[in-house]
């Protein structure tokens, strides 16, 4: 009876201590008497009972984040910039990760900062603040990964993300003034272009007016000329038939037309003689 229950207890103990359940995304590292023997993939695995073997689970799918915070760095052209970095990394090799680094994350941060500092020391401040960020990220990632691999850390960098590159607070207003000056440059040019697009149509209008006036003048001139010449022609015809009569008629008509309109004074021997009142 006692032997039986002892046997059952032993079986239960073995079942519990010999089976390992590894979650998906994890890896199990099995130590046999302290030495790493093998790794277990996700799912059900087996190991010898304690104290012969034991296992440690390592999450190999989680993307971990390290944030060194804002760091002031010297650029290649001896300016200072504040860089805000985030490193995303994961465990690529669970065995190397187990035996590689005593302090994984602080070491990773030191390596990434060192690589970043080296690259920034070869870049100018203007490139860093504008187009150079992608280059910085890629080169820092490659350099840091190379160093991690050289030291067999089992870590893989997924991304070195430069969250922010800013001039230090002491000089930020000077940098802002440069961007507003760049804006001013555009504004000045734009307002000059606005002047052009207002001025030219105005002038074209003026020019058209000048030409139209000239055309009007020409039309009037031509109309008057042909009117006058037509009159002359018909009077000339009349004059050819009866010269004296036509001349007299014309003279009298004009005298009447003028006389009825203007103030006429008749004088004799320098004395005015009154015709009316």
């Amino acid at each position: 009876m006692i032997a039986k229950s002892l046997l059952a207890g032993l079986c239960a103990f073995l079942a519990v201590t010999c089976t390992v359940f590894v979650n998906s995304g994890d890896a199990g590292v099995v130590y046999r008497f302290g030495a790493i023997d093998r790794t277990l993939d996700a799912g059900l695995g087996f190991k010898a009972p304690w104290p012969i073997e034991r296992h440690i689970t390592v999450d190999v799918s989680e993307v971990r984040r390290a944030e060194p915070g804002k760091v002031r760095m010297l650029t290649g052209d001896t300016n200072l910039v504040d860089i805000d970095l985030v490193v995303q990394y994961a465990v690529a090799d669970p065995v190397a990760y187990q035996v590689g680094l005593a302090d994984a994350e602080p070491t990773l941060v030191a390596i990434v900062l060192s690589a970043t500092k080296n690259i920034i020391a070869t870049m100018g401040v203007d490139a860093l603040l504008t187009t150079g960020r992608t280059q910085l990220q890629q080169e820092a990632e490659a350099a840091a990964q190379a160093m991690l691999d050289r030291h067999n850390t089992g870590l893989r960098i997924d991304a070195v993300e430069v969250r922010e590159v800013t001039p230090p607070p002491a000089v930020v207003d000077a940098f802002n003034d440069v961007s507003s000056a760049r804006g001013d440059r555009e504004t000045l040019a734009l307002s000059a272009e606005a002047y052009t697009s207002k001025r030219l149509p105005e002038v074209r209008g003026e020019a058209n007016l000048l030409i139209e006036k000239a055309k009007t003048h020409a039309a009037q001139r031509s109309a008057r000329t042909s009117g006058e010449v037509a009159r002359f022609q018909s009077l000339l015809e009349a004059k050819q038939q009866s010269p004296a009569a036509t001349r007299a008629q014309l003279w009298i008509e004009t005298a009447q037309a003028v006389g009825s309109r203007v103030d006429v004074h008749a004088i004799r021997d320098r004395t005015e003689i009154s015709i009316s009142d």
């Binding site: 030495a35 300016n79 602080p106 040019a189 000059a192 052009t196 001139r221 103030d263």
Partner: protein, 286 residues
């Protein structure tokens, strides 16, 4: 009774002779405090029971040593504040135990060693060699620095030094101020350049607009004058033709016409009472 006690004691003794060394550790076996064996490989090991043998274990993984910031001078006497880090691990546990003892002591000894070597290395370089915006440059630390430090580490401390790198290079606070001054001056120069560039562009755009405007007006003026001239010329020709048909009558008619046009309501016409206009009236019934 005696036998069972003996059995238990011998069991315990046998058990205390077995120990394991983890894959992340190295160990030194000491005999009354004196190192007698070094264990570099993990696994199941045997030893004499306590108190004869003792096992001292050390972490054999790569350790990070962050050296405190230190001020160094470049060859051209520029001050720099450098933060160095060292990757190291215990490579000779026996020597490590004797020379260092604990990782904390290792850090102090390593820090002093590394700082003096870094100061010497950077003291041999110009500041401009360390910083460049031309894209590529020499590594900041000379290649022969690490072997020198590593040799001392392994011979004296039982430590393998894997890497020595600068985590950060900065400037002392008072030097930062002068950098800021320069940065501000540089920015204000760039801002001025942008603004005067804008003014220059605006001026040339305006000048071009004015020139185009003047051209348009001049062109229109020329065209208008041409139109007028042609019209006047045509009129003059027509008048001349009319004149040629009968100059005397033409002049007579034009004179009358002119008189009629010139004299208006405000005009005063003074005429000889005996002139042709009134002679019929003033001359009596002749």
């Amino acid at each position: 009774m005696n036998r069972s006690l003996l059995t238990i004691i011998s069991f315990l003794a046998a058990f205390s002779c077995i120990y394991t060394v983890d894959a992340r550790e190295v160990a030194v076996v000491t005999f009354f405090g004196k190192p007698v064996d070094t264990v570099m490989e993990p696994g199941l090991k045997l030893r004499a029971p306590w108190p004869l043998h003792e096992v001292v274990r050390f972490d054999k993984r790569t350790q990070l040593l962050a050296v405190d910031p230190a001020e160094v001078l470049t060859r051209d006497k520029k001050n720099l504040v450098v933060e160095t880090f060292v990757l190291w691990r215990v490579s000779d546990p026996e020597r490590f135990l004797e020379a260092v003892g604990t990782p904390e002591t290792a850090k102090i000894q390593l820090s002093d060693l590394v700082i003096s070597r870094i100061a010497a290395a950077l003291g041999g370089r110009e500041f401009s060699d360390l910083m460049t915006d031309k894209g590529t440059k020499e590594p900041m630390l000379p290649a022969d620095m690490l072997p020198g430090i590593a040799a001392i580490g392994s011979q004296r401390l039982g430590i393998e030094i894997l890497d020595v790198q600068l985590r950060h290079i900065g400037l002392p606070l008072q030097n930062e101020q002068s950098i800021y001054e320069r940065m501000r001056a540089e920015r204000s120069r760039i801002a001025k350049a942008y603004r005067s560039e804008g003014e220059e562009r605006a001026q040339s755009i305006r000048a071009e607009a004015d020139r185009k405007a003047a051209e348009i007006l001049a062109g229109a003026d020329k065209e208008a004058m041409g139109i007028r001239a042609r019209a006047d010329g045509a009129a003059a020709k027509i008048y001349a033709n009319a004149y040629n048909e009968d100059p005397d009558f033409y002049l007579f008619m034009r004179k009358l016409q002119t008189a009629e046009t010139l004299l208006d309501k405000e005009s005063v016409l003074v005429v000889d009472a005996d002139g042709p206009l009134f002679d019929a009236l003033t001359g009596g019934m002749k």
